[in-house]
């Protein structure tokens, strides 16, 4: 939204395709039809209002299923496919939950924390009995607080955060403080409110068990303790990673981010990818959070305006300067969060169904990889069908990279990710046949 507004301010025509029915992205999902809580929500509501008024042509409930280098963008809306050939494309496809596979994670009753948060925001629903959370990261604490405030109950938390993090983080707090002191205080406030919740720390493995649906969760901790919990709903979370399917299908270059253990598009100082007509903003570029995303969108818009000849290089740099200062602050806070909550990287036993769609286990993947150092994620896909299901590797891709890197003792940067191709979303032949070209 902020990019669209910035682009319009520089006199460029803008079309925004949004797969959701209304503006707001993830953080402000459904904000036009719910109460706003606090200044951030109110800021989001104001941004949505401005976007509706001045943000250009808005296409809700529209899925982009193809992005080609030219750039060409293929959209589907109401069962009709359209081809757009804009001068520039800005991808703000956001983040997805980092896949957190463990035995039984595919059972009904296991969901992500992000999913529960979407259900709360857009359907105003909460779990109907005390819920267990498992994983690590600020989103987990945020949802716990939102759930409690909405009248729900958190029975307990299986905390997978590795030990010793606070010590490592202390040195980073001064740098992070200016940007995130409100967040830190909020976090401390939440921790105080959560005194009644059972917290099991240093969890290093999980197993979900049940007959057709979740009924118990087994866990083991790093110091050798273990136990079993009865619950019919487990909400899991291990951070978020950039949603890179669109940039990968568009053949942009990516690199491995070792701190966040995810792939990111390689971008220049104005957020242009290796394709000079494709820009990336927000968490789709690198995980930095909602506030940073708003600045990141504006920066990419300034870059596009400069590339389109609406701004001189000097004007672009001048306009970008205050935005870069904000983004640097956000980056400092991000380093603190990454240090406090690194990816959990739970053990993946052979019985783990790493590919949910095709039901392929880690054991099958390891058997395919064994003694074949030249085999990467695509080779595993050919051999086992992992990655061939409808999610197109969104839930298993990072696991395949991790398993190959571990078995071959290679850097994930060298292992790479599954080769992603259009269509990125389901598409019927009827929709494809209806393809029109918009000028």
């Amino acid at each position: 939204m902020s990019a669209a507004l910035e682009l319009r301010a520089h006199g460029l025509s803008v079309t925004v395709a949004d797969d959701q029915p209304a503006p707001g992205g993830r953080i402000f999902a459904g904000i036009e039809s719910r109460d706003t809580h606090g200044p951030e929500d109110q800021g989001g509501a104001a941004l949505v209002t401005r976007f509706r008024r001045e943000g250009g042509e808005y296409l809700p409930a529209t899925e982009a299923w193809g992005i080609e280098a030219a750039p060409r963008v293929f959209l589907t809306r109401n069962g009709t496919a359209t081809l757009l050939e804009p001068r520039f494309v800005l991808l703000a496809t956001g983040a997805q939950e980092r896949p957190m596979p463990f035995p039984g994670w595919q059972l009904p009753g296991v969901m992500t924390v992000g999913a529960a948060q979407i259900v709360l925001k857009t359907a105003k629903q909460i779990p109907d009995r005390p819920v267990w959370l498992a994983g690590s990261g600020p989103l987990l604490l945020l949802y716990a607080r939102q759930l409690i405030r909405a009248g729900g109950t958190v029975a307990g938390i299986l905390d997978t955060t590795p030990p010793g993090r606070v010590g490592a983080a202390i040195g980073l707090i001064p740098g992070a403080l200016h940007y995130g002191w409100r967040d830190l205080l909020r976090g401390l406030g939440w921790l105080a409110k959560m005194r009644g919740i059972k917290v099991i720390r240093d969890v290093r493995s999980l197993e979900a068990r049940g007959n057709g649906a979740l009924s118990t969760v087994r866990y083991a901790t790093r110091d050798g303790a273990s136990g079993e919990i009865e619950t019919s709903l487990l909400l899991i979370h291990d951070g978020v990673v950039p949603a890179v399917h669109a940039t990968m299908a568009a053949e942009c270059r990516h690199r491995w981010n070792p701190a966040q253990r995810s792939f990111e598009p390689v971008l220049d100082e104005f957020r242009a990818s290796s394709n000079p007509a494709i820009y990336v903003a927000g968490d789709a570029a690198s995980i930095a959070g909602a506030r940073a995303a708003i600045f990141s969108g504006r920066l990419a818009a300034i870059g596009i305006a400069r590339a389109a000849g609406k701004l001189t290089t000097e004007q672009a740099y001048a306009a970008a300067r205050p935005i870069r200062a904000k983004l640097a602050s956000a980056a400092g806070f991000r380093v603190l969060i990454d240090t406090l909550y690194p990816p959990a990287e739970l053990a993946i036993p052979d019985t783990t169904m790493v590919c949910r769609c095709e039901e392929i286990t880690a054991g099958q993947v390891r058997a395919a990889l064994k003694n074949r150092r030249q085999l990467g994620p695509d080779g595993v896909k050919m051999e086992t069908r992992a990655g061939m299901g409808p999610c197109q590797g969104r839930q298993c891709g990072l696991s395949l990279t991790r398993l190959a890197a571990e078995l071959h003792a290679m850097d994930p940067e060298d292992v790479g990710f599954l080769r992603i191709r259009s269509p990125l979303k389901p598409l019927t032949l009827g929709e494809l046949a209806s393809l029109e070209t918009a000028s």
């Binding site: 797969d19 029915p21 993830r26 039809s33 409930a61 899925e63 997805q96 939950e97 595919q106 009904p108 009753g109 296991v110 969901m111 992500t112 992000g114 999913a115 529960a116 979407i118 259900v119 857009t122 359907a123 105003k124 629903q125 909460i126 779990p127 109907d128 909405a150 009248g151 057709g212 649906a213 019919s232 709903l233 949603a243 949910r356 769609c357 095709e358 039901e359 299901g389 409808p390 999610c391 969104r394 839930q395 979303k425 389901p426 019927t428």
Partner: protein
């Protein structure tokens, strides 16, 4: 598994849909998958590979677990489909034909 925060006043307007023939009250524009999460047995489909039951997992269109038949079209992501009055939903079994059990 899930319940509405406020049962007495369902959002902007109550719509009526059917799930496997059973009428269910829903909130205008909420996702089909959200309705599934409060309608027993809280599942969406059975897996084409093993027949195991699956339910909504990510609620953002990225996992493809919540596939259901909507007004005759199969394998629709319930989380990306807002409910409409009179919508006919069927949980699906395995890998269905493109045209589902209810001809729409």
């Amino acid at each position: 598994m899930f319940r509405k925060l406020d049962v007495s006043e369902l959002g902007k307007g109550t719509v009526s849909i059917t799930i496997d023939g059973l009428p269910v009250a829903a909130d205008k524009d909420e996702a089909v998958a959200a309705v599934l999460l409060r309608t027993p047995p809280f599942t969406a489909r059975t897996s084409p590979i093993s027949g195991a039951k699956r339910a909504p997992f990510c609620m953002m269109g990225a996992c493809f677990e919540c596939l259901v038949e909507v007004d005759g079209r199969t394998s629709m992501r319930g989380c990306m489909t807002p409910v409409r009055d009179g919508m006919v939903i069927h949980r699906q079994a395995g890998r269905p034909d493109p045209v589902g059990v209810s001809e729409a």
